[in-house]
Symmetry: C2
Subunit: 195 residues, 2 copies
DNA sequence: AACAGAAATTGAGCGCTGTTCAATTAAAAA
DNA sequence: TTTTTAATTGAACAGCGCTCAATTTCTGTT
């Protein structure tokens, strides 16, 4: 068949992305399949592969979307935050991951083949989220240490991330840890106090 | 065919495990396949599935082995450690993960189906590694805080883990972080200093 | 030595996956 | 109306996890 007037190329891309996002949220990375996405939007596999280069390409696009939503989620929380913005940061990080388990884990489950670089769009959106955090870190840092904001942000992101993964992947359950959030926040507080 | 005198059941299990471990180290979790393991040990798929219940079962067995090796690696380093045992802990954690990239990542890439619990053997070996760390944490903790060693150990493990994943999965590369180890150790030091 | 029973091994077959591409069909241009 | 262009298709391929009737080999008994 030729062009179907009901969907432009951009609309079709958006349609696939939305369906993929939904499917990923439902099934998780392991259960995700391009074929099922195609079925859900009512197009054939072939068409999907005309719009997205590969499974990796589609996954990357979906994860980018998740990243944008995550950043928006945290930003929204920060807007209506009181004094303790750092606590809001840690809390909203955890909340998003918990409320969007499969989507959040898929960001890290999906791995590009050896040596392949992240596409620009994806890299950009990841740095955006980092920048939001960096602003807040810089705010509570003494002025003479402002230059450390970058490295410290990355390290604190890793710290909170570690607690969050262990909370969601069963590691903490295995070790009978029951307060991952509190622990993460405590570590962040100590690091900031030390600076 | 019947029993092949060249391998007992236990030997066969060991053979498959070793081959699986090697394959996993070579290809990583995504490229791993039970079929390929079977081919490498010179048995059919069917035989492999008589020895191991499922793909998950085999993965779990391989990951358990990795965990044991990891614990041994860290223990060995601790034995010939000087004053600063905490630095050795963080360093050997990173070293093992770096030297055994695919094996280490597979521990976290593999996820059991919804609600399935870890088998005892696996849980045990994971707790063993935690205990090694907990001993060292307890050693540097003031006596009156000894009871915090458990939660603190889990939190510090999460902290180092977070830095380690970000170093290996490309996140830190994306954010241009170049000293993940140092950052991890710094966070651990701050947390211990605060206690 | 011949047979019977038990145990181990097999691999074709099922339904799934990502991916390709010649063939088809619908829309746009002439 | 005819031609050209572009979108869409789905069978085909190689691979996956997994199953199980059929086969083969080893063991124990007569």
């Amino acid at each position: 068949m030729g062009r179907r007037s009901d969907h432009s190329r951009a609309e079709l891309e958006e349609l696939i992305l939305a369906a993929g996002h939904t499917l990923l949220a439902e099934t998780g990375y392991a259960g995700f399949s391009a074929r099922e996405v195609a079925k859900r939007v009512g197009y054939s596999v072939g068409t999907l592969y005309n719009v997205f280069e590969s499974h990796d390409d589609l996954m990357l696009a979906i994860n980018t979307r998740t990243f944008v939503e995550w950043a928006a989620w945290i930003s929204a929380r920060l807007e209506r935050a009181g004094e303790d913005r750092i606590a809001v940061l840690v809390d909203s990080y955890f909340d998003f991951a918990t409320a969007n388990r499969n989507l959040w884990m898929a960001i890290y489950d999906h791995r590009l083949p050896e040596g392949a670089a992240f596409p620009d769009r994806y890299a950009q959106d990841r740095r955006t989220l980092t920048l939001i955090v960096e602003q807040e870190i810089a705010r509570v840092l003494p002025p003479e240490r402002a230059h450390e904001a970058g490295p410290l942000t990355r390290s604190l992101l890793a710290t909170v991330h570690g607690h969050c993964v262990f909370a969601l992947n069963g590691t903490f359950a295995l070790l009978e840890e029951r307060h991952p959030r509190d622990a993460a926040l405590a570590r962040v507080r100590e690091a900031l106090a030390a600076a």
